[in-house]
């Protein structure tokens, strides 16, 4: 029996001493394999007396079971150690920075984003988006809009002209989006509710003027819309666009050839810091011109101004973008400086909606 005890302690010590699964297997084979020490002992059972066998049989079987368990336990320990070692060897530096994903690095220009914001707001009020060509006729840019020939108001527009054609016609770059009012009224039966965003051009250049800029125009024509509706539409627009709960507004009488009565709209702002803050403070900021569509304009579009009426307004898209998002210089809008676009631009998946908030 003492032999068996020695054998057991030797084998268990060998098992505990193994460092790899392969070594463990060697120990297992040396003990329990066909020619293993325990197996050899088992073979001796047959030559024993029944009495001897009665003692040695269970002892050997017990030893075999004990060793088997010990091997299994050691195997688990070794497997765990091996996994740990592998994991340790597989360690990487997860602080390594990644490349920016393209969807993260691309940007939408503020003018496009603001047009989408305008679309979201006005679509909710039942407006469609109308468009027209940049190259216009004098008729649609001025005459049909009630700018009399030679009127000083024409002078104020600093128009870009094309060369006179053989038939005497001289095309121009539209100085405002208003010719699309005429195109819309001539081609669409009232009721009309459209906004008209687009590029416009004037021969002018400084920090707040560029020879090309963007305007958005609004037009409502039906049989009952009046100045009270215009006030409401513009108030709701200002609140929604500037994302403020309330805003003080001031309508001032003004003059535009294509509206009568004509007004300009000032909104409340605070200029005390470096930036203009909309919807607070004591200062006024002019943001748009508006009015009831002039009877002559309605008539010029083939409608009876005693039956049809409505209102229109117009403002600079770049300008309201600057007011909302704080760009100081209009010229930078058209410079395509990636630093500017990345700073003032918008993420590609930030689609403005009313239900999700225009810009948040």
């Amino acid at each position: 029996m003492s032999n068996l005890d020695t054998l057991e302690s030797d084998i268990l010590a060998a098992i505990d001493g193994t460092e790899t699964e392969a070594a463990l297997e060697d120990v297992r084979v040396a003990a329990l394999g066909k020619k293993g020490k325990i197996s050899e002992q088992m073979k001796t059972l047959g030559k024993m007396t029944p009495e001897e066998r009665q003692v040695m049989g269970p002892a050997l079987n017990g030893l075999k079971a004990k060793i088997t368990d010990a091997v299994a336990a050691r195997k688990i320990v070794l497997a765990e150690a091996a996994l740990e070692a592998r994991l340790a060897s597989e360690k990487v530096d997860v602080t390594l920075p990644l490349r920016a994903s393209p969807a993260e690095s691309g940007r939408i220009h503020p003018v496009s984003q603001v047009i989408d914001e305008l679309t979201a707001i006005f679509a909710d009020m039942g407006f469609s988006i109308a468009e027209g060509p940049d190259i216009e006729t004098d008729e649609l840019n001025f005459t049909a809009l009630n700018f009399p020939e030679g009127h000083p108001a024409r002078e104020m527009h600093d128009t870009f002209f094309f060369n006179e054609k053989e038939d005497g016609e001289r095309l121009l770059l539209r100085t405002h989006t208003s010719p699309v009012q005429i195109r819309t009224m001539q081609n669409q039966e009232p009721p009309i509710r459209v906004i008209i965003p687009g590029r416009t051009y004037r021969c002018d250049s400084d920090q707040t003027h560029t020879p090309m800029f963007h305007q958005v125009e609004g037009l409502v024509i039906d049989k009952e819309s009046h100045f009270g509706h215009l006030k409401w539409v513009l108030r709701e627009f200002c609140k929604a666009f500037f994302e403020v709960d309330d805003i003080k507004m001031r309508f001032r009488p003004s003059f535009f050839p294509f509206t009568e009565p004509s007004m300009e709209l000032d909104i409340q702002c605070d200029r005390s810091g470096g930036e203009v803050k909309i919807g607070q403070g004591e200062d006024w900021l002019e943001i748009l011109g508006c009015g009831m569509v002039h009877p002559n304009v309605i008539r010029n579009c083939g409608l009876d101004p005693d039956v049809y009426q409505g209102f229109a307004w117009g403002m600079g898209i770049d300008r309201i973008a600057m007011l909302k998002y704080g760009m100081p210089d209009l010229r930078a809008f058209f410079d395509a400086d990636v630093r500017w676009i990345k700073h003032y631009g918008f993420r590609p998946l930030d689609l403005p909606t009313l239900f999700g908030g225009l810009s948040s």
């Binding site: 988006i129 027209g132 104020m156 002209f161 054609k165 090309m212 100045f227 676009i341």
Partner: protein, 805 residues
């Protein structure tokens, strides 16, 4: 239009404060742009008297003054003004005072070793005028120690309004007072200019001679005042003029300027002794010229209306007087002109000659015709009051045009257009206070506008007059009724495509640019444009002369600008209009992008995970396909052609087409010669997408996507490698493979191209992976063999190549 508060109160009896007046002006449409008070910045400056003036010991041109400030000991001042002398009374600035005209703050100085405790100021230094020949030289009795601004009458608010072009009546202070009175801010002091009896006939006659051409002068009033004594104007008149930025000249000229701003009535005065014979108002003649009172000379022609005497042209009618017959302090006999000119002719002449005068400003907007002769009376009265003299009878050539335009005005029009209820009584009071005439009773009345309101045309104008005076705040916010139940789709296909292409390109790492619609002629020509119909007649610079035929020049230039700033790896795109011709149909919407340097989809520049290569044609192709997919094109059905425009690299560019004639997109490396001509460094790849070229989506009648037809059978993959000629395109090979058994071949992937050892010269090995998707039953080995043979045969036939063994 500028005026002072006291000038306004000359016409308006009011208790209102400056703030109330300013607020009301703005709210009735006379927007106040600025209120200034020159006294504010001149506060520290006091009147001082020079007691002694001695030669500076170390400088020939300087003097050392002892100046009495009115308090304490005299102070020592070093002064370089030529008129500095003992006894002069002037204006002193002391250490610590800010000199507005120099924008400096004075301190105690040492000039050539002599201390100076301030300075005696010139007009320019105090921003009173441009005068800088010497220091202010006040009358000897000016009170020493008193505030100069206060003494000089400068302590007064000057109000500047931004006048809209429809309000000629408010080019005079009187008209502004009338509007304020109507708005309830005081009482208008009625003007009356009693007709003066002349004691002799006007010795100079005037005739309007336009023959059978269109008359450019409607009427002309003239009168002589003889035996006058001209000279500098009295202080009150000079003060009024200088306060609004006009320079006093002499009494006669100052009177014309004063009445121009007081009544909006421009006048002219001739020195009668310099006028030969009678005056004729006529068209100018080629070859004639005039030396104007502004010191400039003008060449004339028959589009310009002139006043001439027997010898020569004396005045540009309604715009500018002539220097030779101008009034000076020596003038003793004066001819006063008050005339009525054609608005459009005045505007055209002013534009043509580039003359902007206070007279032109008023005449081109339209002055009150009925005030022509009263204005002449007013001027005559002022001349007699200030210069004495004896007036002749007034004469008038031409007729004052009839202005009364009678408008049928239903009171309900106010409610219809403005939404506000205004009673008939309130309407009547408002219109009458503005000078309108109302007749009749009931719901519709007849209204006539006063002669000073040429802008009033019809009912809508009357509505404006009423609501601007009663206040736009009376109009309440009225919700615009909703048109339907929920919002409708409001965007057109074109608008939707632009939005989708924009967002798709931005998700590919592009930054959106907006570049100018006009480019230089050279660039336009290089990109297929530059036609005469698209060239501006008056471009703002030579870089912006022609409407762009492509967005590429602008984007390429933008990429280079970024590179020049140190950001060479940029991806920029723009969605915008290009111009094929000057018709609305010739304006097309395109989406164009450029990638420069290593600005690839995966990222730019060097990185631990692997540096980005330079951009290549396949980056541009991927962008074009992605944008096309975003706008609804079935990209796998497009054909790839290699006939891109010659601004692209001929061997590294292509077109994506729907049939041979419908090009949806072009892509590729930009041609090195194009870059060289534009002075731009590559590598640069680009794509251009014609957003309108894709056919409109068909309305399929329903939004169902149909059932998913996924097979439950395992797909089978088979690889093939072919040896084909070097020029055989992948497209040809893939098409042949795909076409071998359309029902079973679900996909073909090209996974390897190899040239070199083991492949014959001028050949390449192309390896493909074919995915077979059985639908009814699992394929047997024999069936797969049959399909494989078909694929091989198809590819060999199409490419002339062979299976690589």
């Amino acid at each position: 239009m500028k005026f002072t508060l006291s000038w306004l109160k000359e016409h308006l009896e009011t208790e209102a404060s400056l703030e109330e007046i300013v607020e009301r002006l703005t709210m009735i449409g006379l927007e106040v742009e600025e209120v200034t008070n020159r006294a504010d910045r001149l506060k520290p400056f006091k009147i001082a008297k020079v007691l002694e003036a001695e030669q500076h010991p170390n400088a020939d041109r300087l003097r050392v003054l002892k100046v009495d400030t009115g308090e304490g000991d005299p102070v020592q001042i070093v002064c370089g003004a030529p008129n500095a002398r003992a006894g002069l009374v002037g204006v002193l600035g002391k250490p610590g005072d800010h000199i507005p005209g120099l924008d400096i703050t004075l301190s105690v100085g040492k000039i050539r070793d002599v201390e100076s405790f301030g300075m005696m100021c010139s007009e320019r230094e105090l921003e009173l005028s441009d005068e800088h020949d010497g220091i202010l030289d006040l009358p000897a009795d000016a009170p020493v120690g008193v505030s100069y601004a206060e003494w000089a009458g400068l302590d007064e608010p000057v109000i500047e309004i931004g006048l809209t072009p429809n309000r000629p009546d408010c080019t005079g202070v009187y008209g502004i007072a009338r509007d304020l009175a109507a708005a309830g801010l005081g009482k208008l002091k009625e003007r009356s200019h009693a007709q003066l009896r002349g004691s002799y006939p006007c010795p100079t006659n005037v005739t309007l001679e336009f023959g059978d051409t269109k008359p450019m002068c409607k009427a002309f009033g003239l009168r002589m005042v003889r035996g006058i004594k001209n000279g500098p104007s009295p202080k009150w008149l000079q003060d009024r003029l200088t306060a609004i930025g006009l320079r006093p000249i002499n009494i006669l000229v100052d009177i014309t300027n004063y009445i121009t701003f007081d009544q909006g009535r421009p006048l002219h005065v001739f020195d009668a002794d310099k006028v030969q014979g009678n005056l004729v108002v006529r068209r100018g003649k080629a070859g004639e010229s005039l030396d104007g009172l502004n010191g400039k000379s003008y060449e004339l022609d028959d589009t310009i209306c002139v006043i001439s005497d027997e010898n020569s042209v004396e005045s540009l009618g309604g715009i500018l007087g002539g220097e030779p017959s101008g009034c000076t302090e020596e003038t003793v006999n004066v001819l006063i002109e008050s005339a009525l000119w054609d608005e459009d002719d005045i505007a055209a002449t002013g534009r043509k000659l580039g003359v902007n005068t206070d007279a032109r400003y008023r005449f081109e907007r339209g002055v009150d015709p009925d005030y022509m002769m009263p204005g002449l009376e007013y001027a005559t009265r002022m001349v007699m009051d200030l210069c004495g003299g004896e007036p002749s009878e007034a004469i008038q050539a031409g007729d004052i045009p009839e202005t009364s335009n009678i408008i049928e005005f239903p009171y309900a029009e106010i409610k219809r257009l403005s939404g506000v209820d205004v009673s008939q009584a309130e309407t009547n009071v408002t219109l009458k206070s503005l000078g309108f005439w109302i007749s009749g009773s009931g719901d519709t009345v007849k209204v006539a506008a006063p002669s000073w309101r040429p802008d009033i045309e019809g009912k809508a104008d009357l509505v404006e007059e009423v609501i601007r005076i009663i206040g736009l705040d009376r109009v309440s916010f009225t919700p615009l009724p909703r048109t339907g139940t929920v919002g409708q789709k409001v965007l057109t296909t074109g608008q939707i495509r632009r939005n989708r292409a924009r967002r798709a390109l931005a998700t590919r790492g592009f930054n959106e640019a907006v570049t100018w619609s006009f480019i230089s002629k050279d660039q336009a020509e290089m990109f297929g444009g530059g036609g005469a119909d698209l060239a501006l007649a008056n471009p703002i610079s030579h870089e912006m002369t022609d409407m762009r035929p492509s967005l590429l020049p602008g984007l390429l230039a933008a990429a280079q600008r970024n590179a020049d700033r140190g950001f060479g790896d940029v991806a920029l795109f723009e969605i915008g209009q290009i111009f094929e011709n000057d018709t609305p149909e010739g304006q097309k919407m395109v989406a164009t992008g450029v990638r420069r340097g290593t600005a690839k989809f995966q990222g730019t520049g060097r990185h631990w995970s692997g540096a980005s290569d330079e951009v290549d044609v396949f980056d541009a192709k991927a962008d074009a396909e992605a944008a096309l997919a975003a706008i609804g094109a079935q990209v796998e059905k497009l054909q790839v052609y290699t006939d891109a425009p010659d601004t692209f690299h001929p061997g590294r560019s292509g077109c994506l087409k729907l049939g041979p004639k419908n090009t949806l997109a072009v892509f590729g490396e930009v041609h090195p010669a194009t870059l060289a001509k534009l002075d731009i460094e590559g590598p640069l790849v680009a794509f251009e997408i014609n957003l309108d070229a894709l056919p409109q989506p068909k309305n399929k009648g329903g939004r169902s996507k149909g059932a998913l037809n996924a097979s439950h059978l395992m797909p089978v993959r088979r690889d093939f490698a072919f040896l084909v000629g070097k020029d055989v395109t992948a497209g040809t090979l893939l098409k042949a493979a795909r076409g071998a058994e359309k029902n079973l071949i679900a996909d073909v992937t090209l996974f390897d191209i190899y040239e070199g050892q083991g492949v014959p010269e001028d050949h390449k090995s192309v390896a493909i992976d074919v995915l077979l998707q059985p639908r009814q039953k699992t394929l047997t080995d024999e069936e797969i063999d049959v399909i494989s043979k078909k694929i091989i045969a198809n590819v060999e036939k199409a490419t002339g190549g062979s299976l690589r063994s």
